[in-house]
Amino acid sequence: MTLSEVTQIDGIAGDFKVTVKEAPRYVDVEKCIACGKCTEKCPKKVDSEYDAATGKRKAIYVKYAQAVPLKYQIDADACIRLQKPGACGFCEKVCDAGAINFNDTEKIHQLNVGAVVLAPGFEAFDPTDAGVWGFGVYPNVITSLQLERYLSASGPTEGHLIRPSDKRPVNKVAFLQCVGSRDENLCGNGYCSSVCCMYAIKEAVIAKDHVPGLQTTIFYMDMRTHGKEFDLYMERAKEDSGVRFVRCRVNGVEPDGSGGDLRLSYVNEEGRQLEEYYDMVVLSVGLQTPKHVLELAHTAGIKLTADNFAATSDFAPVQTSREGIFTCGAIAGPKDIPQSVVEGSAAAAAVADLLAPARFELTTEATFPQEKDVSREEPRIGVFVCHCGSNIAGTVDVKAVEEYAATLPDVVYVERNLFSCSQDTQEMITKRIREQNLNRIVIAACTPRTHEPLFRETLKAAGLNEYLVEMANIRNHNSWVHTKDPKAATAKAKDLVRMAAAKVTFGDSLKPFAVPITQKGLVIGGGVAGMTAALNLAEQGFAVHLVERTEVLGGNALNLKHTWAGEHVPSQLAKLIDKVTGNDKITIHKGASVTKVDGFVGNFSSTITDRNGATLVIDHGAGIVATGGDAYIPTEYNFDSITGVVTSVQFDKLFELKEQHVKKARRFVFIQCVGSREEGNMYCSKVCCTHSVQSAIALKKENPERNVYILYRDMRTYGQREALYKQARKLGVIFINYELHGKPKVTQNGSVIDVEVWDHVLHRPLKIEADMVILATAIRPQGDAAELGKLYKVPVDKQGFFQEAHAKLRPVDFSTDGMFVAGLAHYPKPVEESIAQALAASARAATLLSKSHISLDAVKATVDEDYCDGCALCVDVCPYNAITLIEKPAKAGGAGGKTIVVNKAQCKGCGLCQGTCPKRGVYVAGFTMKQISAQIQAALAV
């Protein structure tokens, strides 16, 4: 439901009545074919929201080229006709589909739902009103979002970086961080937006790729690159791309002359006032909750934090203050894409927990018509050539391709479509297949990697086997990469169509096959993440086995006292342990670890071994790895020899116990990044800055007379944690920055500990006398993570943390189907992020476990009994151990001998067997020797 807003939520969890107001689109989505004629004719231009006002759009427009749904809409405020009846109306006249409806009206929908998930996102801080650094006055001061659009191939300049003032190329760009973040005076947003440091680095690197020789400088307070692989990315940006980083306070951006250049003045770390000149200044704008979301929060009746984000508990990070209403993404605090995706899944898990009794009540299986048997028919190929708007047709002479396709053997029908992937074209293709009795289809359009699944559905809808389609990639591999040579591109498009037709001619009907799923989960690791995942799966109704290596549940959280928001960890942990042990769907195996794994998605069987060597085999359909992390034991800063030097975990215990040394001590020094962010361990442990700040606050609160120092490299109190940093400064905690090349020195000097650190301002070493030194030590991966990884065929990264399938879009999935990851096993993170990730892993696992069968792709190795002589060469090369050598069943009149069988559930269709087999005894369905040979022949036919 687009153009829609929630206006009212009545009822209770499990049974809400929601009122949704749908604004008029003035374009009938059923009729609109997104041809774009209306936009072409529309005389009214306004700033494009999508391009962050760097470009224009018309009053009738489509949000962006790949929009879903790809349907036009009229902006009533800008439309001449809607503002003045009788005027204009050009779009209505040119629309062949008759989709324009100026009389469209607002609609009100009443919907009955069991739960509501709020994921309305954020808006970028708008620096116009505050007049930050001359934004809105000097045209070459732009926001990071605008730069994003300039750098985008779909942006206003098609990826060419030019100056807005004079369209001249840009040679020098400055990025100013924390615009609309960490600044209560100018914008009222005291929190850190968490994502700007990283996106600024990314934009600087990408901009340098676009413009060779471009100089980029990032002016910052603290670089907060605390996410997985972020520090590595920053190092690469520094070392390989040559992005310059300057820690400073900028105090002015002024025009230099009338040419559009900008003069930037700042105070550097040594306290000196400097000036530099730039072509362009980019403001790294923060994230904030938009007004309409505040209204939505009010409508939903949920509580907000002081920073205007949804209030949640660290132990229930997607639950709002109103039962049955959940949040995910930036509404509950600024966060990056991976964390937002994690929370999306986590909210799904929380909803599923609530609504488990009503699962499958309202869903229906898609049904398809009976499949036609085409094995005895002569090929009748239909070719559909896509314009992709102007993406293809702008370069390739699609009409010539259409005419050429008609001359190919067995091609009986050819047609061109503006967008082959649009809903109406899908229906049209279905119709043509029936009408023309087509039994093989070629779609000349974009890449099968994204669109083949769609066209397979189309064939199914027409009663044709879904594998009888082949795509000719005349966009990504042709029109987009040969833009300047339309003639050659047209010739290549013809070749690609010919190759696809040749391949599909030898295509066979293939059946995807179903494998039953063991509807049970296995969770490895009994810490907070593991227990949360197990509990959620159990509450969704699935049986779960929870395996914990030690004799106690709780994991690393047993060492924690408070979350950053001040919630008491031991009591919450005790509650969680009670719930897990009391849930009869959860079987707990303490003192046990996984030692052997067989099977595959839906059908794993893991063997666990306990202390005494007793083994147990557990069958499960999905598995969650939540094995946690390890604490780094420092060797630096004389940790071994000086008793007053302790780790932060040790300090917490001493402080809690009101131990005499701590109680009496007057001078405390915290040293950050011990074992983090240095050669060999180039990652941030994410939690230590906040942890030290919290400890410092506690010390100061207990006795304001104490001197508390925090020696840091970058303070990474990200998100709403920034409030703690501010509080600590207010209480008089002294923060001293050090760099990697000037690490502090810690020595015993009689009864005191001397800490020596380089003072940037005074240009000389500074000596602090301390009673106690607290080392903020790193979180390390489990030493044996890689061994467990090998059992399940899931990888660990360079550091030894488990590697997810995709950093952004599949943050809790492994590349091995059916396996998921959560908690410190994935990367250092605070409790609430571990819990969100655990819920997410549970939701992802539940998408599998809720089904009784899993349907697998039919592109699998297949044995040709006539040719296979059991030489077993393929058995060794198969990377998935899917091939087994067996005795050939003795046929009447034939000898026995050996042959192979393929376990299709384990086979991934890679075809190493096919490439190895000297006898053509095994082939991959959908990519047979015959099909590929035909393609080669067709490629070289002209």
Binding site: M1, G14, G114, E229
Partner: protein, 60 residues
């Protein structure tokens, strides 16, 4: 709570990357989903981004 009626459908407000992920996971595990989006198309803020770190993949 035990005997109150539970409806097997969910409304998700917001069609950005997080809302879409929630919608997909819920639909895939047997719930009917209404995805409500304020603007004319789903995709949210991520659709505006050019490339994403750490791999510099295209956002689309």
């Amino acid at each position: 709570m035990l005997d109150t009626k539970k409806v097997g459908s969910v409304m998700i407000v917001g069609g950005g990357v997080t809302g879409m992920q929630a919608a997909l996971d819920l639909a895939d595990s047997g719930y009917y989903v209404y995805l409500v989006e304020k603007s004319g198309a789903i995709g949210g803020a991520m659709a505006q981004l050019d490339k994403t770190f750490p791999t510099n993949d295209c956002s689309m």
